[in-house]
Structure formats: structure tokens, C-alpha cells
Amino acid sequence: MNMTDEEAFATGDTLMLRACGIDKTFTLHQQGGARIHALAGVSLEVKRGECIVLAGASGAGKSALLRCMYGNYLATAGSIAVRDDSRPARYVSLTQATPHDIIRLRTTTLGYVSQFLRAIPRVSSLDLVAEPLITRGVDEDEARDRACALLERLNVPRRLWTLAPATFSGGEQQRVNIARGLIAAQPVLLLDEPTASLDAENRDVVAQLIVDARECGAAIVGIFHDSDTRERVATRIVHIDSSSLSNHDSQAGAVHTC
């Protein structure tokens, strides 16, 4: 990865996301300025049609990396760039983008599925799932039809569709969350343990949705703890190693690719 972002995005037509030398350190001002090193020198390139599974022990910084790539965490050092063909340079630097740029990038390009659904009071499951399409200008009826189809495919019982998910089981909430995260079919998908609270049957459905997205050309980075799903979806596994940072200052790189 000695190329610049300019060169990498100009020469690699399938390159969608590029992270170089990402460090993430949390400074806890409430606790005497204690510093927690979550990531050190992580670099990653993700191409169209590729599903990279992040592996590594709990606390290795896998989620932190996904969040940095979504603009939810600010990387302490390093750069993250995302394909944007509407610009002359054909990419945007996420780490230098304004909030407005990031909002736009999340609408056009970056999708993210969190570990848990952040329920919005009083909004029905169906509306929650249809909302990302409506924000993107899809006609409301069509958006609802597509939301119904996706909820159906994820085995969310029809009687729940008109209800707000606050009282649903963990697995039901997670499937609503996945539907909301995948419905807009964004070209880059960041998936933080989407299958964690699901039973085998539904894990299977989600794995198939991810494989479908990948085969349609999505560039995917995900965290999956069960080995079945991992094997089905992954085209590449990247190990993030916590031992090299272990929360004292360390310059060690932290990624091994296999």
C-alpha cells in the first residue's frame, strides 16, 4: 500500500474503500485522561464483490475499525477514502470530510448494520425498514412493498410489521435492523455482527442475503462470530491482532491477511 489514494482509486476500478494506517485511541477525560489504544496502524482495501471478514479476539478493535470506516468514530491517525464517482478524483476522503459530506456518503454509498437496533419510539417496523428508500426518493408505496418483501424473507411475522419493535425479541429486532440496513443496497456495506442474536435458520437467511449483495457487486466488511456464516460469506479473512497494541504504546502494525 505505498500508492496514494489518488493512484489507488484511479488505477483500481473495483476499489471501493481504502483505509491506511488507522490508529484509534480513546482519551477518557473523566478518568484522569486515561488512554485506550483500540487500533494501531490498520490498513485495508475493499473491492467490489468482495466480503472481508474481520477476525480477532474480543477487544481487538474490529468494531472500532468498522465505526471509523462509517464516520461514527474519528480515526486518531491515518486516512480512509471511499469511492465516489461523482467527483473528478473518483473518491472522497472520509477522514477529511465535513459532516455534510459524510451524510451524503451514507446516503449514496455507505451502509452500516449495528449490533443492536436503535428503536425509534412509535415508528412501525415496516416504516423503519422502508425509510431508507423513502429518504432516497423511492415512491412510498414501492418502498413499503420492498420492505414487506424483505421482512417476509427474514421471517419477521406479518403481525409485527405494523408494531414498533421496542417490545420485540432480540432476534426479531435484529432482523428488522438488518432489513433496514440492507434495503437500500448500498455499494459498501459494514456489518457489525448482524447474525449474533439469530437462530440457525435465520442466520442462514441473513448469510444468503449477504452473499446475494456480494454477488451483485457490493464491497462488504463484516464481523461474524459463527464459523458457518463466516465460511459462507467471506472471500477473505483479515485478522486484527490486539496483542500488538495491548494498551501500551506500540508502533506495531496489526493486520495479518490470509
Binding site: 480513546f26 482519551t27 477518557l28 477525560h29 473523566q30 465505526r67 464516520g71 461514527n72 468514530y73 474519528l74 459532516p99 455534510h100 459524510i102 451524510i103 425509534i120 419510539p121 412509535r122 415508528v123 429518504t135
Partner: protein
């Protein structure tokens, strides 16, 4: 300028203390910006300064109109200010009573802003008022009742209808959910969220409630002692706060 509203170095002090100091901000069309901070942090002063309801000591403030003209808000005369607040803006007070006329009916409260910009057809005014009551989830059959006949949460929704009926592009809100029961708050928040997105409305909302900010805001500004200490994308500021004060604020929220 692309922004709808743009402030630079805005300062308003009271006898050399308090108020807001050197604030830069911009609001884009359709964007919801929340200003959070504790009592006395200067957020309401800032809101009043932005809405030119109070004079400022220094700084610049510009607004882009429907016609695409850029106005220097600090140079407007009173009639120009009134026109702007009737045609392009709304202002929702924390206390509904400050934003409603107590001695006229709910329907008249909604119809009045339209009459102020020239609407005269009684039947149509009444129809519009009734339609807006339904949109803010009030029973349209109560159109002739006085505001005092409605509960606090209902009065707040009535105030919102009165502010949105003229189709403003930018709405200022001062703690719109404070003082309401939690269940009533949720309903109001859902309503605000739906209305801002459906009407492509820009809003500047002052709140001390982080939950309100997370639900409604695209962007967040954190104020302390009159200054902006941190700003950014709402989820980034709340999930990865950088400033010591923001970290304290986020850590003080009780988990549900």
C-alpha cells in the same frame, strides 16, 4: 452560499458576561441542527440571536431566501424582520403559552399566520386549520375550543401547527419537549421527526436532552459557558465525544 443560515463570530453578552461568544454555524436546507448544553450555557441566547429576536454585540449573520437572495440579517429593519418571520421562518417556544394566543380558538391560532400574509377566504382558512389539527394529531372537532382547553402536550402540537401552516423553510425551537410527560414527548418527537423530513424543513433546536438530539438531529453542537466546545455529525459526537465536557454530558445520560 449553499447554507440557508450562516453565522460567523456571533457574540451576545449581558453586561460583559453570559450569553454566547464567537459562534460559527451553518444550517443547510432540510437539515436539523441541535444545540445541546446545560442551563446557562448560552444556547437559548444563541437561538434568539440566530432568529434575530435579540440584538448581537458582534459577528455576521446571513440568510438565503426562497428567491435565492442572501440577506444580511443584522441590517434588516423591523418590517423586513416581520416579513421574514411570517413567510420563511417559524419559532416554537418552550412554553406553548408564549407561542399561542390565549383568547382565540385553536382554529384561529392556526389560521392567523395565514391571514397575516394575506389569506382572507374564511372557508379555506378553516379547512386548512382543520387539516393541520389532524396533521399534528389533534381532534379537528375541537377547532373552536380555546388553547386553555387542551393539555400541555396538545398545546405544544397546536403551537407547532401554527408555526408550520405558512410552509416555512426554517424553524427555530427552544426546548420543544421540555416539561412534557415522557409518553407525550415521544409522540411529539415522532411528529417533529416526520414533519421535518416530509416537509424538507430545516430546524435549529435547542435542547438539554441528549435523547432528543440523537433522534432528531443530523448535526449537533455542544455549548459550555457560551462557547461551542464540540460539533459534528450527531452519532459521531455522541458515540465518540472528544471534549471533556461532551464526555461528561454523554456519560451522564441514564441508560434505559
Amino acid at each position: 452560499m449553499n447554507a440557508l443560515l450562516k453565522a460567523s463570530g456571533l457574540t451576545k453578552r449581558y453586561d460583559g458576561r453570559g450569553g454566547c461568544v464567537d459562534v460559527d454555524l451553518d444550517v443547510y436546507p432540510g437539515e436539523v441542527l441541535c444545540i445541546v448544553g446545560e442551563s446557562g450555557s448560552g444556547k437559548t441566547t444563541l437561538l434568539n440571536a440566530l432568529a434575530i429576536r435579540t440584538g448581537v454585540d458582534s459577528g455576521a449573520l446571513a440568510y438565503r431566501t426562497r428567491e435565492g437572495d442572501t440577506l444580511d440579517l443584522l441590517a434588516l429593519n423591523e418590517p423586513q424582520k416581520r416579513l421574514l418571520s411570517r413567510t420563511e421562518w417559524g419559532f416554537v417556544h418552550q412554553n406553548a403559552r408564549d407561542g399561542l394566543r390565549r383568547n382565540v380558538s385553536a382554529g384561529a391560532n392556526i389560521g392567523e399566520p395565514l391571514m397575516a400574509i394575506g389569506a382572507r377566504h374564511y372557508g379555506r382558512l378553516r379547512e386548512t386549520a382543520s387539516d393541520w389539527m389532524t396533521r399534528v394529531e389533534l381532534d379537528a372537532a375541537r377547532i373552536d375550543e380555546l388553547p386553555s382547553a387542551f393539555s400541555g402536550g396538545m398545546q405544544q402540537r397546536l403551537q407547532i401547527a401554527r408555526n408550520l401552516v405558512t410552509g416555512p423553510r426554517l424553524v427555530f425551537m427552544d426546548e420543544p419537549t421540555a416539561g412534557l410527560d415522557v409518553s407525550v414527548q415521544a409522540r411529539l418527537l415522532d411528529l417533529l421527526r416526520t414533519l421535518t423530513s416530509k416537509l424538507h424543513l430545516a430546524a435549529v433546536i435547542v435542547t438539554h436532552d441528549i435523547g432528543v438530539a440523537r433522534l432528531l438531529a443530523h448535526r449537533l453542537m455542544v455549548m459550555k459557558d457560551g462557547r461551542v466546545v464540540e460539533s459534528g455529525l450527531t452519532d459521531q459526537v455522541l458515540d465518540d465525544p472528544q471534549h471533556p465536557y461532551t464526555q461528561t454530558l454523554v456519560a451522564s445520560v441514564l441508560p434505559v
